[in-house]
Symmetry: C2
Subunit: 298 residues, 2 copies
Amino acid sequence: MTKESIAESFQSLQDRICQSLERVDGKSKFQEDLWTRPDGGGGRTRMIGGEGVIEKGGVNFSEVHGAVTDLMKKNTEIEGDSFFATGVSIVIHPHSPHIPIIHMNVRYFELDNGRYWFGGGIDLTPHYIVPSQAQKFHTGLKSVCDKYNSEFYTKFKLWADDYFFLAHRNETRGVGGIFFDHLKEDEHNSKEKLLSYCIELGDTLSELYGSQVKFGAKEHITKRHVDWRNIRRGRYVEFNLVSDRGTKFGLVSGGRTESILMSLPPVANWEYCKEIEPNSQEELTLNNLKKGVDWLQK
Amino acid sequence: MTKESIAESFQSLQDRICQSLERVDGKSKFQEDLWTRPDGGGGRTRMIGGEGVIEKGGVNFSEVHGAVTDLMKKNTEIEGDSFFATGVSIVIHPHSPHIPIIHMNVRYFELDNGRYWFGGGIDLTPHYIVPSQAQKFHTGLKSVCDKYNSEFYTKFKLWADDYFFLAHRNETRGVGGIFFDHLKEDEHNSKEKLLSYCIELGDTLSELYGSQVKFGAKEHITKRHVDWRNIRRGRYVEFNLVSDRGTKFGLVSGGRTESILMSLPPVANWEYCKEIEPNSQEELTLNNLKKGVDWLQK
């Protein structure tokens, strides 16, 4: 299996995800920008947003390669002289405060010394946490993971708790999901199987999100809900710009800034020491932004 | 001159700045929060914002000390076993898109090995650049610098160009100002003189800002102006969370998150590949977000 064929699989995945997300949105179509990276490679950025479910959403495919620069060595864990990286990244910001933000990324790295690995993650960031919906999401992820390795879900769920965490806020980004990196073939899975694990996760995304959208879209929206959504979007910005390794890798590896930062919401608010009403839905959400919650049991 | 007396001078500076900024605002008063740092020290955070000129503004004083942690060693240039740091930080986000954002910071560091230094910076971020106003700002900074060392302005203006720069956007944050760090006594200035340089910069801030406010407040505001202000505020968020060393030091040294992130605007927008009308005021501004502009000659 060549790196080119992996990139092709990821491109097809992007196509399928865009088609399903257009159905989930109900009104808008993706607009595509093709771009090339001056130092090697390029990508297809697809953006959606309008009067449907999605206010701003992006599905990126990229395949970049070239020399490992000093800046990359300093800011990432990449070693060697040259690298190849391909992947699909998604972030969807819906209009409704009752529909969660969703993020997914699957990626493949290969270095000139022959080392390779897969990485990825899917996580859900509800503006208002509904435990039964978080359970549905985690159950869906677990069923994909279980097909490949019975330890994947438990291990990658813990990893997501640690990764999707804002240390300076002492808050998880949302209800988590799974995160994995440096995944290589072993006695359980060949390289081909690992690729199909990534692809299957990607294909599951729109299905899982469709169910979240269906649930949240029924809820009535008030100004208070929208204000809270914008505060939570501010936290999303903080995570992506302060903590996210993917964003950092993209920015220091000379990636296309507009494609990398498509993950930022259309609008975000910051309010100094925002007061939270006791026993409110907002407080319930904050109380659930913790590591180690077993969402399967909620 | 003890570190305690330097902290006292900074506290008095905070008092004077808040009084002047209340006059500039015209309507609101600062609200104060006192806080203590679990590992040593604390601060006074003062916030302002309402129906006057300022939508959201903060003036922080802090004096923190304690052990140099591994996290701090990894993320900052601090060496030694224990540190002392005191300073005043200001960020003002005005309502009007025609009034610039202003930032100032003056600070003093001391390590247990006896090493000390002053640092600081003032920079102006107009949503719409008006060259004559940028000139006024830089001329004011130069006249303070020239009292202490004839090389300060030229040196620190260049440093600001490099520091207040968003590499991933290839844009300066605004029209710059001055930035300096690791400033120690020499044949030109004693330690006392360096402190009074920092204090005098601080006292100049409200005066310089008052003049910017007076000019911008006359301008008519349209929805287009507000939309553009919010995009520029998004860039301000990017700078503070991706590039700013002060923010990074604060977050990793266990500073108070709400005080550190008071610098973030009340609202910010991100639009994928925003189109800029040729020859518009927006384009003029973007064309001026470059290093090396000699604003004194504009």
